[in-house]
């Protein structure tokens, strides 16, 4: 926990420094028509830097020896995170409907070991339902890929 707390605090402070830098570019003072664009972010970042320093002190003084995440616990988390990231990549290539069908199918089969009937049924039903609700009913377009182009959408 301590390492994670320290890392977060340092990342936050680095972010604070970036914001302060950009605020100086924008001007943190007063122009003819009121405070400049950098005024608000500058003060936010200054307080953030102070908080970051405070968190570093806290983390050093109050040592929390518990690990941020154990080796056993990180596996299920990655089992969600990695497929989810792959899913997002796939959306970009194949569109949302195909991607969600593939994603749901593989996940249900690989992690859940569900029967092929359930796997195929659900991974077809979800994209079709999404298509009907979003594309047809509420006219909200979703990202599409080659399959939709081939079908004429």
């Amino acid at each position: 926990m301590r390492a994670a707390d320290l890392t977060t605090a340092l990342v936050l402070m680095a972010g604070g420094v970036l914001v302060v830098g950009d605020s100086f570019r924008l001007g943190i003072g007063w122009s003819t028509d009121g405070p400049r664009s950098g005024f608000f972010p500058f003060w936010l970042a200054v307080v953030l830097l102070l908080c970051g320093a405070g968190l570093v002190v806290q983390a050093v003084r109050r040592a929390d020896r518990r690990p941020f995440v154990t080796r056993d616990a990180v596996r299920p988390v990655l089992k969600v995170l990695v497929p989810a990231s792959a899913f997002v990549v796939l959306i970009q290539v194949a569109g949302l409907y195909v991607a969600s069908a593939v994603y749901m199918g593989i996940y249900m089969r690989w992690i859940g070991r569900h029967s092929w009937l359930a796997v195929i049924g659900l991974s077809v039903a979800f994209p079709v339902l999404t298509f009907l609700v979003f594309e047809i009913w509420f006219l909200v377009p979703m990202p599409k890929g080659p399959l939709e182009a081939w079908l004429g959408y």
Binding site: P35, P41, L48, G54, L96, M104, L122, F134, V140
Partner: protein, 506 residues
């Protein structure tokens, strides 16, 4: 004058289409409340893009119904599965689950739903009475007053939220800084984009909510390991009727909890402390405090009444001042802006049908809600029995659809994923997420209020203290900000342990 307005509101709320939306909203909301990883704020955020094409009157009814549904849903998982779907239903598990284990799940659920209904109704009645008055007062507010109210909103996270005050402050600052990213409408300059074109649009709070609360929550649930071994819902009209005959005995608990809930609820993050506080009070005033924790029906009544009263109350500052009292209310406020409405006291003058339709729909929504959950409990409980290998990709897909549809932009889906990881890490490190979301939503409004106030005073911050209303509010805000510094000394003075039991607030 209020009565005619309420009638006007009921004319809106009772239109068949709007009633239909209320039913749909409660149905979806309850499902969302039952599912892990999909809370009220998140559900409202995902559905928000669907409402862009709806008339605002109907859209807000759909979203508030969803909110009520999510509140009801939390009670189901608490009682039957010992899993609080929402943080404010943690206290409901203390006595609800033991009751269910004894085979009294029907009684516990009936008590929970009825208490929720009573709490919400109490809050709605108070909103009906006080909202117009508050809006009238707020009409006289200028930018300094609004900025002070914002200050108060965020100070209460630090002073009353529990947890580490520095981390709460950091969450607020991150939210505000993320809100700054992109085009500054006032001066027309690009801020904090560092030359990256994708950053020009800034960060949308809807995407942040979906990532932080949706994806983050799933990651956390996965790490803790899912096990939904619950008791069955045994509920039939006879059980409901018998429980209803017992409940009036606890009228004191109802009234006390409703007041606690409303009082805590219109300040941000109030629902969870309200439910714990009202549980503690119920135990304190009970003739049999030793029965609490072992399946006392009063232990279900107290937190549920308070949580729903607080949930209702959090909408009061949203419609009157344009300041949301909870993350869900914050998402709704964002919706108002997208639908082209200006949140704040002017709504009562300019769009009475919208405001009163919303208030009236809180009555109808709760009546429909309590009847629906009582009728369909076994169905909702069955949802939690769906294996996680199906639920997980389903919820991730729904979140992706929601994130994409906000701006039809792929980068938002990536942001969602990143916010998910941040949400997971922050939850583990005890950074509260609610203030971050609220700050992201209110960022522009807060900055404008600050700018205009400083222009009025030609750069002096004293303006927040010299105007009477603004001064009073700012003083309270400063007190809340200072509270974490004062409390240890105060406790030492009274000979109490220096560390208060920390309660993390969502």
């Amino acid at each position: 004058m209020g009565f005619e307005n309420l009638l006007l509101g009921f004319q809106v709320a009772l239109q068949p289409y709007n009633l239909f939306l209320a039913v749909v909203g409660i149905m979806l909301g309850t499902i969302i409340g039952v599912l892990p990883g999909l809370g009220g704020a998140n559900g409202v955020a995902i559905l928000l893009p669907l409402t862009f094409s709806m008339p605002p009157n109907s859209a807000i009814i759909l979203l508030t119904s969803l909110y009520w549904g999510a509140l009801f849903g939390g009670a189901i998982t608490s009682v039957l599965f010992n899993i609080p779907g929402e943080p404010w239903s943690v206290a409901t598990t203390f006595d609800g689950f033991p009751m269910a284990q004894r085979g009294e799940s029907g009684q516990a659920l009936t008590a929970a739903f009825t208490s929720s209904f009573v709490g919400a109704l109490f809050a709605v009645i108070l909103i009906t009475l006080f909202a117009p008055i508050l809006a009238e007062v707020a009409l006289k507010f200028g930018p300094p007053e609004f900025f002070s109210i914002q200050l108060l909103t965020f100070s209460s996270f630090i002073g009353l939220g529990g947890g580490n005050p520095v981390k709460s402050l950091v969450s607020i600052l991150i939210g505000f800084i993320l809100a700054v990213v992109g085009l500054d409408i006032v001066t027309g300059t690009l801020r904090l984009t560092f030359g990256v074109t994708e950053l020009m649009k800034g960060f949308d709070f809807i995407v942040a909510v979906i990532g932080l609360f949706g994806i983050g929550e799933i990651l956390l649930t996965m790490e803790e390991g899912l096990s939904f071994r619950g008791t069955r819902a045994k509920i039939n009209p006879k059980v409901v009727w018998q429980t209803w005959k017992v409940l009036p005995r606890y009228y004191r608990t109802f009234i006390r909890s409703a007041f606690i809930g409303f009082w805590m609820g219109f300040k941000p993050g109030g629902a969870t402390p309200a439910s714990f506080m009202s549980y503690a009070f119920a135990k304190r005033f009970s003739k049999h405090p030793e029965r609490f924790g072992k399946g006392e029906i009063e232990g279900v009544v107290a937190p549920e009444t308070a949580a729903h009263a607080a949930g209702g109350a959090s909408l009061l500052p949203m419609i009157t001042l344009g300041i949301p009292g909870s993350p869900t209310a914050a998402v709704m406020l964002g919706g108002l802006i997208i639908w082209g409405l200006q949140p704040g006291p002017m709504l009562f003058k300019e769009k009475p049908d919208f405001v009163w339709g919303l208030i009236a729909s809180m009555y109808t929504g709760n009546v429909i809600g309590v009847l629906m959950v009582l009728a369909f409990v076994p169905f909702f409980a069955a949802i939690l029995r769906i294996p996680f290998a199906i639920l997980t990709p389903l919820i991730v897909s729904i979140c992706a659809v929601g994130a994409y549809s906000v701006h039809s932009s792929m980068i938002d889906v990536w942001y969602m994923l990143i916010f998910g990881v941040i949400g997971y890490a922050f939850k583990k490190l005890d950074y509260p997420l609610a203030p971050l979301v609220l700050a992201l939503v209110l960022g522009d409004l807060a900055e404008n209020a600050l700018r205009q106030s400083l222009i009025m005073s030609q750069g002096s911050v004293l303006i927040f203290f010299t105007r009477p209303i603004s001064g009073a509010i700012s003083a309270v805000a400063l007190f809340f900000f200072a509270l974490p510094l004062i409390t240890p000394y105060w406790r030492r003075l009274r000979g109490l342990p220096a560390q208060a039991p920390a309660r993390q607030e969502m």
